[in-house]
């Protein structure tokens, strides 16, 4: 199968299974086997998911909890490999998975920035050049030299987002990034993500917040129990999910909705 040069992400018939283990020890397994009970069961997190994304598109990935959003993101990010089908991407990928970066809790903020950037494929010189910018954006002040295990969840998320967004990537993945930040930081994040979008990077944005998806994305994919339930226009997608704010909702809720605070 061939794709035009403008294709950014191809997800083709992707399935992913997880094994659920009921019995863990040898004794439990023997007892279960004797009684004829199941020892393990598989769970289909993604079931024949297919779509393609053009370079520069921004996709809002939506769906209820447990519908497979994070799993899909992990497959696109390359942390996991699909059990069936294939995932193909073009260019460098950066982003956050499951509200946060892969930070090592025992390392300081500074060390984590370097490590994280290196994993994302940045060289030492590149990291050093962008280091101040990253730190300034994350705004963690003197906590830079303390282990990130001691960070508040907000600081943790800020630093993670900052590293990911400053990597010169072609695809940017964001999983509920705005969930833990405070209001000023959310504003900053949104602005930065709009910049990312304007630079022509592919944006893959997971959110429950209809408002921010509406602002940020030009296409919505809704996952339902591991299958693609809807793929297309943003407004339609939000309606499909019944995430449209009710008429009787207060303005304040609406505003929060815009910023993605409803998680």
């Amino acid at each position: 199968m061939s794709h035009p040069a403008s294709t950014s992400i191809v997800v083709d018939g992707v399935s992913k299974y997880f094994t659920m283990r009921y019995q863990r020890t040898l004794k439990q397994m023997t007892v279960a086997a004797v009684k004829g009970r199941e020892i393990s069961d598989t769970f289909k997190a993604l079931d024949d998911v297919s779509f393609t994304v053009e370079q520069g598109e921004s996709i809002g990935l939506m769906g209820l909890n447990g519908s497979g959003k994070s799993t899909l993101l992990k497959l696109v990010n390359g942390v996991m490999r699909p059990d069936g089908g294939s995932v193909l991407t073009r260019g460098r990928i950066a982003g956050l998975i499951a509200t946060g970066a892969g930070f090592h809790p025992q390392l300081t903020g500074r060390e984590n920035v370097y490590l994280n950037a290196a994993i994302l494929g940045m060289s030492e010189a590149e990291t050093r050049r962008k280091f101040d910018e990253i730190v300034e954006f994350a705004d963690i002040g003197r906590f830079l030299e303390t282990p990130v295990g001691n960070y508040s969840s907000g600081m943790f998320a800020r630093l993670g987002f900052s590293v990911a967004v400053h990597v010169d990537s072609d695809i940017f993945l964001a999983d509920e990034v705005l969930a833990v930040g405070d209001r000023p930081f959310k504003k900053k994040c949104q602005q930065r993500m709009q910049e990312v979008r304007a630079e022509g990077r592919t944006l893959f944005y997971v959110s429950h917040a209809a408002g921010s998806v509406r602002k940020m994305c030009d296409r919505v994919i809704v996952l339902e129990k591991g299958r693609v339930g809807y793929d297309g226009d943003v407004a339609e997608g939000i309606k499909y999910l019944k995430y449209d704010p009710d008429d009787d909702s207060t303005p304040e809720v609406d505003e929060d909705d815009d910023l993605g605070a409803d998680i």
């Binding site: 794709h3 040069a5 403008s6 294709t7 950014s8 191809v10 997880f18 094994t19 370079q55 520069g56 992990k74 497959l75 696109v76 990010n77 390359g78 942390v79 996991m80 490999r81 294939s86 995932v87 193909l88 991407t89 073009r90 260019g91 460098r92 990928i93 998975i97 499951a98 946060g100 970066a101 892969g102 930070f103 090592h104 809790p105 025992q106 390392l107 060390e111 370097y114 490590l115 994280n116 290196a118 994993i119 994302l120 060289s123 030492e124 072609d170 602005q191 709009q194 910049e195 979008r197 304007a198 630079e199 022509g200 990077r201 602002k215």
Partner: protein, 302 residues
């Protein structure tokens, strides 16, 4: 420019043509990839060096206290209480202990490495062979000062390095590094699925300590088993210990030529190269097992 962007304006955006092929986002795995990304490996090694004894007051010192205490025990129990009169018994034990300790550290820390770095493994796409390899390099780094102590002691006792001895020493380190990484790869992946593996490793470690001619001379093995002692030499770790003794201990004795003839088995290099070959085969198997299990690692890390 970008600062002033409002949602309405953001419709217009740059066309970005990415000059890269469509490929699987999962990074190419394998040991070759690990050495291609040396910068990342260096960062991980530096991290490990500072984190291995994190939160302890003595820190890095434990890397020396641990082998030193073992040396002390072996020296007192085997050298002074049981005492068979091996010349310079302390050196005899110590030069073996250095490679054995290197091997055990690689094996043990490597086995735990994936679990210990689960925060990274679960969220970042990277070749996961990085972690066991980094553990090996950290153990190698810790070997340095021990070696320095050994060399100072040996020089004090009139030792002069020989070319053959030093080549043997390098061969011993290479073999132990390879075999240690091979086992670490296999056990690190298995450890994610069954935590029992960690306990198995500590049992194996005990066998390793006593299965090599470190706290007893090889001559004792020959006396007890005669021709069957040759099978003992098929153990690459035993060869590595003998190579170390040839490199350091022999030179400290009063009559090195006699000691060499009496204590160091013939064809030691032949056995050692065989051991190196075995280690590389083990490494290939370890890599194979690792890549088979790797796919399920992120979801099993809890």
């Amino acid at each position: 420019m970008a600062e002033s962007l409002t949602p309405e304006e953001s419709g217009e955006r740059d066309q970005r043509l990415v000059d890269a092929p469509l490929v699987s986002p999962a990074p190419p795995a394998g040991l070759r990839e690990v050495f291609r990304r040396r910068y990342l490996l260096r960062l991980l090694v530096r991290r490990e060096v500072s984190a291995r004894y994190q939160g302890s007051v003595l820190g890095m010192m434990w890397s020396y206290i641990n082998p030193m205490s073992q040396l002390f025990i072996y020296w007192v129990v085997m050298g002074m209480i049981i005492g068979r009169g091996t010349e310079n018994f302390g050196i005899h034990v110590f030069c073996g202990l250095i490679v054995v300790h290197f091997f055990i550290e690689t094996f043990g820390a490597g086995t735990r490495s994936i679990m210990r770095n689960k925060a990274l493994v679960r969220k970042m796409a990277m070749p996961r062979e990085m972690f066991p390899v980094a553990s090996m390099l950290v153990s190698l780094y810790h070997m340095g000062p021990q070696l320095l102590i050994l060399i100072v002691c040996c020089l004090f006792m009139g030792w002069t390095p020989t070319v053959v001895g030093m080549l043997g020493f390098l061969l011993a380190v290479l073999t132990m590094g390879t075999l240690g990484t091979a086992l670490a790869l296999t056990f690190a992946a298995a450890n994610v699925f069954f935590r029992d593996v960690g306990s198995v490793v500590s049992i194996l470690t005990n066998f390793i300590r006593f299965g090599v001619p470190m706290i007893y001379p090889f001559t004792l093995v020959q006396e007890r088993f005669g021709a069957a002692a040759a099978y003992y030499l098929y153990n690459p770790i035993a060869d590595a210990v003998l190579l170390m003794q040839q490199a350091f201990w022999v030179g400290t004795t009063d009559d090195p030529t006699a000691v060499q003839a009496h204590h160091i088995p013939d064809h030691l290099f032949a056995y050692s190269f065989l051991g190196l070959g075995i280690s590389f085969v083990a490494l290939a198997i370890g890599q194979f097992v690792f890549s088979k299990l790797e796919n399920k690692i992120p979801e099993r890390l809890t």
